[in-house]
Amino acid sequence: MKKVPLLKLQDITKKYLVGNQEIKALNGVSLEIFEGDFVSIVGKSGSGKSTLMHIIGLLDTPTTGKVILNNKDVSKLDEESLASIRNKEIGFVFQAFNLLSRATVLENVILPLQYSTIPKNLWEKKALEMISLVDLTERVSNKSNELSGGQKQRVAIARALVNSPSIILADEPTGNLDSKTGAEIIKKFIELNRLGKTIILVTHDMELAKITEKRFVLKDGEVVS
């Protein structure tokens, strides 16, 4: 039996108008990602990888083409529905961590649950499980601005995992970290992938991309390999 992809992009184009000029950021991108994959999207600045990441993360919609997630076409949904799918299916890890600096580690990890349908009495338990998975149990009550860069990124990973999403979408997750801490974070992603998590790593760093089993290299808005 043929395996059904978790995420399928069909002939995606994305055009922007800059002044009067039309810019084609993506041009006929098609790709398939299966459950349990660890893939990277690699490309230099201006290659269209950020635009592709936004479309995969349902933060943006394609100009033409289809985004099929869990067998459902999500390319033309309204903002409310996209928000709900993002909440359930996508876990974001950003280069700049994007934590709420005045909130504690626990409060940061709980954040996506606030917008979910998961009952409130389970929030703390779920968040603590994820915090333990990223080895930050002892910092649970610390404010996020009291943490090191590596710890912040681990909080972001716990936050991305807390809703048990189908896909973890990591945008340059080691970009703001030193090489040693960056390596630890990558190790964490490998561990999570072994636990069955689907991970998409978006990076400009070809060396880093080599750790993933599948790579989509973008150039001028097209997948070249």
Binding site: L59, E79, N98, R102, L111, P112, R159
Partner: protein, 394 residues
């Protein structure tokens, strides 16, 4: 959800305490002003109502000039024609309707006893003045008809005057001076609280003789029963029209005066409330301003929240809760300060300032409404932010 939003609002408001306080200040001052001014207005109303109920019921007043309680009452006294003759006219032609009739003269004078001086309002009246003013004596007696006709130099002291001049001795029989005229104390009034305690009473005939006054500031009378107040007013008018023009006097029932006062006070209270509401409006603009700054400052946070699943409505609600918390907390502080000041006025200034429940509800509702109204625009602005742009915001 609301609990989380409120918690998040408190965290972000607490992050910048000085700014939060300064933003709230407009609301605090506005609500404080509303609550305090209404409490003072209510206090004045209580005071006037108490004064009138102290006077007894079924009273009818004749005042000089055309008095509508809205013009300048002082102007009528310059052309005052009300005198002894009119007193006699009412006494003669309206006696069927009237239980008692008393003239009223109020003169500010200095009183002295030995080396003590006291500035008081001298109330010149006749032997029935004690009934009109509801005067109860703690010792001695009120002056009698004979004192009035003989123009005797006798005086009845208000309790405060008696306490001032004769703290440790019997006041009766002593002589005090009103200006340079010597009067004998024949009675002391029971304490009632308020201004009446600082007055003294003398026969009006004596006042006319010694202080060279012959116009009355009013005639006060009591109708024989509540049912005939209207007919009594008519009869008094007719009696006075024998000598005066219609524009030269006004006859008012106690109820009319009280109603007019209440209505004027209500209008003043509303006016003051409206002025205070302007400061709430200014406070609201301050809130909107700061919320707009907050939305810009927290653009990345908005982007993050959207990325993890917040809908535009979730974001709008979050900022609405924040703006409303800001104004409601300000409103609660303002209400508390207003109640505190009313309490201080009541306790230390012997003035019955009262905070009615409706004013607290009004102030609270107003501050809530200010938060909702002025929080809406920033909240909508936040909810419309593009998550991609917001996440990139530096």
């Amino acid at each position: 959800m609301i609990k989380e939003l409120f918690k998040s609002a408190i965290i972000s408001l607490g992050a910048n305490k000085t700014r939060t306080f300064l933003t709230m200040l407009g609301i605090i001052i506005g609500v404080f002003a509303v609550v305090t001014l209404i409490s003072i207005g209510q206090g004045i109303q209580n005071f006037v109502t108490d004064r009138f109920s102290n006077l007894g019921s079924n009273l009818i007043f004749v005042a000089p000039g055309k008095l509508d309680l809205r013009g300048d009452p002082g102007a009528n006294y310059l052309t005052n024609k009300l005198d002894e003759k009119h007193f006699k006219l009412v006494e003669t032609y309206s006696s069927d309707y009237i239980q008692y009739l008393t003239p009223m003269m109020e003169i500010g004078k200095s009183l002295t006893y030995k080396n003590k001086t006291y500035y008081s309002v001298v109330q010149a009246t006749n032997e029935e003045g004690n009934l009109a003013y509801n005067v109860e004596l703690v010792s001695g007696k009120f002056f009698e008809k004979s004192d009035v006709s003989a123009r005797n130099k006798v005086v009845v002291l208000g309790s405060e005057v008696a306490r001032e001049f004769f703290p440790n001795q019997e006041a009766l029989g002593n002589n005090i001076k009103i200006e340079d005229k010597v009067f004998t104390v024949i009675g002391v009034v029971r304490e009632k609280g308020g201004q009446l305690d600082s007055r003294v009473y003398i026969p009006y005939t004596t006042a006319k003789r010694l202080f060279n006054i012959d116009k009355f500031s009013a005639l006060v009378m009591k109708a024989r029963s509540p049912e005939i107040v209207e007919s009594a007013i008519k009869s008094v008018k007719n009696s006075l029209l024998r000598d005066l023009e219609e524009t030269e006097f006004t006859v008012l029932s106690q109820k009319e005066i009280l109603d007019s006062f209440t209505s004027i006070l209500a209008n003043i209270t509303i006016g003051i409330g409206a002025i205070a509401a302007i400061s709430l409006l200014v406070g609201g603009i301050g809130i909107m301003n700061i919320m707009l700054v907050t939305v810009t400052e927290r653009t990345r946070e908005i982007g993050l929240r959207k990325a993890v699943g917040a809908t535009p409505n979730n974001i709008a609600l979050q900022f609405m809760v924040e703006a409303t918390s800001l104004s409601v907390i300000g409103g609660l502080i303002g209400t508390f300060l207003g109640i505190l000041v009313a309490f201080i006025i009541k306790t230390y200034f012997n003035f019955n300032a009262e905070v009615p429940l409706w004013s607290v509800i009004l102030a609270f509702s107003f501050s809530f409404a200010v938060g909702v109204i002025f929080g809406t625009y920033p909240a909508i602005k936040a909810s419309k932010k593009d998550p991609i742009e917001a996440l990139r915001y530096e």
